[in-house]
């Protein structure tokens, strides 16, 4: 095993363009639906390991029905192959489930710059029954356009599974909000 690993390192060093690590390459791949974010910024990229058998990348879905998973997988394989990593395996990990708390600071900044309000802290749940909300929860979400603090919820469901719709009474602009999960 040790020998095989050394061989691969030598081979990589000898090929221009493969001096970067697989992790560095994987970290450049962006989300297909939120292209201002990398998969790493979104917290979807869980692990990248390099071994003699190739590169293994672990990703986790944001929502069970996230239709972008296949595209993410393709984009990762593509980017890594282009960088000289021939054998790439992309694995799905389901546990622990994705949380918006995993979106990085840079990711939050980029969302806001693109006019999408970043999420607040995800709800913490104890072991008991989940309480039902009979009125829409009051969230403090600032308007990404004008910065006004008081904005209104329009719908908890938006154009993608991870976003809610809101509107700002101050500047009258509608906007999207990555909802806490």
């Amino acid at each position: 095993m040790v020998t095989a690993r050394t061989d691969e390192t030598d081979e990589k060093a000898a090929t221009p363009g493969t001096a970067v690590t697989a992790r560095e390459v994987a970290e450049t791949v962006t989300d297909p639906e939120l292209p201002m974010l990398t998969l790493a910024d979104l917290g979807v990229l869980r692990e990248v390991t390099e071994s003699a058998d190739g590169v293994t990348v672990s990703i986790t879905p944001t929502y069970s029905g996230c239709p972008a998973m296949d595209t993410m997988r393709d984009d990762l394989v593509h980017a890594l192959r282009r960088a000289g990593f021939e054998r790439v395996e992309v694995r799905t990990v389901l546990q622990p489930p994705w949380s918006t708390d995993w979106i990085t600071e840079r990711g939050r900044r980029r969302l806001a710059e693109a006019g999408i309000a970043p999420p607040g802290a995800a709800p913490q749940r104890g072991g008991g029954p989940v309480p039902v909300q009979l009125v829409p929860p009051q969230r403090r979400v600032s308007c990404p356009q004008c910065g006004a603090v008081d904005t209104e919820a329009v719908s908890e469901f938006g154009p993608t599974a991870c976003k809610a719709l809101r509107r700002c009474p101050a500047c009258a602009e509608p906007f999207e909000h990555v909802k806490e999960i």
Binding site: P32, S58, P61, Y63, S64, G65, C66, P67, A68, M69, D70, T71, R73, D74, H78, E89, V90, R91, T92, V93, L94, Q95, P96, P97, W98, R125, P129, V130, V132, Q133, L134, V135, P136, V154, S155, E156, F157, G158, P159, A161, L165, K179, I181
Partner: protein, 292 residues
Amino acid sequence: MAFDNAYEALADAHDDARWAFGTGFDNPLSGVDTTVPSGVDGEDLAQYCLMLGDDALVLSHRLQQWCTRAPELEDEVAIANIGLDLLGQARLLLARTGRADGSGRGEDHYAYFRGEHEFRNVRLAEREHADFAQLVATVLVLTTWRLAVFQRLQASADPVLAAIAQKGVNELTYHRDYAAQWVVRLGDGTETSHARTVAAFDEVWPLVAELFEPHDVERRLDGVAVDPAEVRAEFDDVLAQVLSAATLETPVVPAKAGVAGGKGRNGRHTEQMGYLLAELQSVARAYPEATW
């Protein structure tokens, strides 16, 4: 650059053969360790995943039928999102079925190539929604029940099922709140909306008792499955909160009987199920190898 057809142009832009989301759907459990835990009967586990998967698949299909028919754009989007989450849960569970029963069959086999008597969903999931009040009443009942089951399932002895449940809990919480808030708004709304919501719960309620009747598979899978009878009290508590805020009473209507002793979990369905499956399956059956 000139192309003979539009698809070629799109493929070129992506520099591979892919041109849109949804092409070549992959195994949603790829890379997940799907070994059946020791001491667990694989066939029973498969049947249980099928039950939970079919509930989600069939309800998702009913929600998809609201596309272009919802009362407002925001609700159109919400219903489609809930349908998509449920479809995702169904994909994971049906893929889990194919691993647990040892057949290695993919999710498409279970969704498209089973007959009506092989579907294991509860009958409420297949029930048509004649109006928006019936939609929100159905979604409230089914998501309250499913959320309570999934919450307990997070401690399942099958780690795959536990992981699917853990993701599902977060999603179902949003679904249930959506339905609950609409029930309150309609029930405590105008005279007409109140009357129609009362009528909707009267239609839905005969199929509620069935949700809490344990199947033999659930009884046998001690520690893996959740006994649905266990979640009745929690369900009643949530429904009482919502109905009271909506100025509605719990309906008093007899439960719908089964056929020859069987209900949804035994593959005995209502007349509406055949039409639903025809719509769901006809394209896949007419063109079994088609990809798009």
